[in-house]
């Protein structure tokens, strides 16, 4: 299984959740991938590319072919496509393994311009997922029903998370809406010689300075934020899709 790669130009996007009732950016994602292919970037999908837990099968069948076609274009242009497995798509590992041009990994250690970058979905650092995996899965599936009725409920959930973590965010200097365990995990990885850490999972886009020139990034969810992390010869930055594609 591939975990160590080298790449000069890499784009990391996360949490596409294709097939989810909330996902309404399929067209933009496909356009973004096509433009990334033209500019010579490798691509890393940092987990939860496909929605299985809250799947609306008709939507999945409608969304996925165009997306896969865009990935194929990337592969045909000689660029690599990496897929880091998340918690919503862990069941797809076996299927994905068969699709030639996508390389599946549990996490990726990228070496770019002498810098070490860790790309990981991050569900292993979610306290609820680790302590109560079955409850987490059940709640995720349960939450799918109201989402199908009104996808806007998702914004309420994100706002609630930001509100409930507001004081902790100010105190601990973490990404708004995110548990502190992610920052602690990022510190652990920095301890092992990584210079940049990229997690997904929480859908909260931001970056955190970990000190000594080390940074932790979260590109958020491509369903809403339209953000990505760009790695070019060891320089890592968080940017909007429009900034990348000029």
């Amino acid at each position: 299984m591939i975990t160590q790669i080298q790449s000069g130009k890499l784009i990391v996007i996360s949490d596409l959740h294709l097939g989810s009732p909330v996902c309404r950016t399929k067209r933009q994602i496909v356009q973004f991938l096509n433009r990334a292919a033209n500019q010579g970037y490798d691509l890393c999908i940092n987990g939860d590319g496909f929605e299985v837990a809250q799947v609306a099968f008709q939507k999945l069948a409608k969304d996925v072919p165009d997306f896969l076609r865009a990935l194929k274009v990337l592969g045909n242009n000689g660029h690599n496509v990496y897929y880091v497995v998340g918690n919503h798509d862990i069941i797809l590992e076996n299927f994905l393994d068969e699709w030639g041009n996508i390389k599946i990994a549990p996490f990726l250690n990228v070496i770019s311009g002498g810098q070490r970058i860790r790309i990981e979905h991050g569900h292993l650092y979610d306290p609820l997922f680790v302590r109560y995996p079955r409850l987490y899965e059940f709640l995720t599936q349960l939450y799918g029903f109201p989402l199908r009725a009104s996808p806007r409920l998702y914004n309420v959930w994100i706002a609630f998370q930001k509100f409930s973590f507001y004081h902790r965010t100010k105190r601990d200097h973490v990404i708004p809406g995110e548990p502190r365990s992610f920052k602690i995990a990022a510190h652990e990885l920095v301890q092992r010689g990584f210079d940049y850490i990229i997690f997904g999972h929480t859908h909260h886009v931001s970056e955190v300075d970990l000190g000594d020139g080390k940074y932790y990034f979260n590109p958020g969810s491509s369903m809403f934020d339209r953000s990505c992390v760009e790695v070019v010869n060891g320089k890592v930055r968080l940017l909007e899709w429009d900034q990348l594609c000029g």
């Binding site: 975990t3 549990p106 250690n109 995990a185 652990e188 092992r192």
Partner: protein
Amino acid sequence: MITCKPSGSKILVKNGFDHGIQRYRCPACGCNFIDTPTREDHPDAAKPLVFYSIGKSFYHWIRNLISRNEDKRFARELVMEFSDGETIFTEGDEDREMYIIQSGEVLITKRFSSGEIHLATITKGDFVGEMALLESLPRNATAKAVGKTRLVVLQPGGLLLKIRRDPTFAFEMLQRLSHRIRHTDEQFFDALQREISVDAIQQIVGVSEFTSSQKSTPKP
């Protein structure tokens, strides 16, 4: 019973409200006052509030202190710095630490009758000395720093904690150990095939498996 404190009169007239609290007028002295309990009336009334405030401040102070340390829990793990050419451990040493290379490089060498050979150069993010930690056996090679090198020191208990906090570390460790075994096997068979017949290889492999299983018995 409400009394007017300046005059001591108990005959009072209600005189409207002050911020929702009943106000009284004393006909004897003409003063207006409201009926609120004072510290003199109830000397112990404020104590629970004071204790609560102090307790709450103390709780937040402790909590902040813990959380501040928790973010940098790694600081509990020992970090050592070595200068260029400095020896980290020597072949035959009986210490049990393993090291993760945070920055710099480590040169691994082994002594032979004809001299010293260079086994590997290990770079940032990799680890060294894990065999002594896992098997409780003396070091089988010498490690020296190349340039200024920072190492995180892990002891057996620390390794388990590290895996608990960073589960991918266990995966990477197994992956590298597997790679090293494969690499050693390939080199071993390559060397044997050049010079010795298949029967002899089988004989040597049998002997080596026997001796390695004996050697790998941990020390009490």
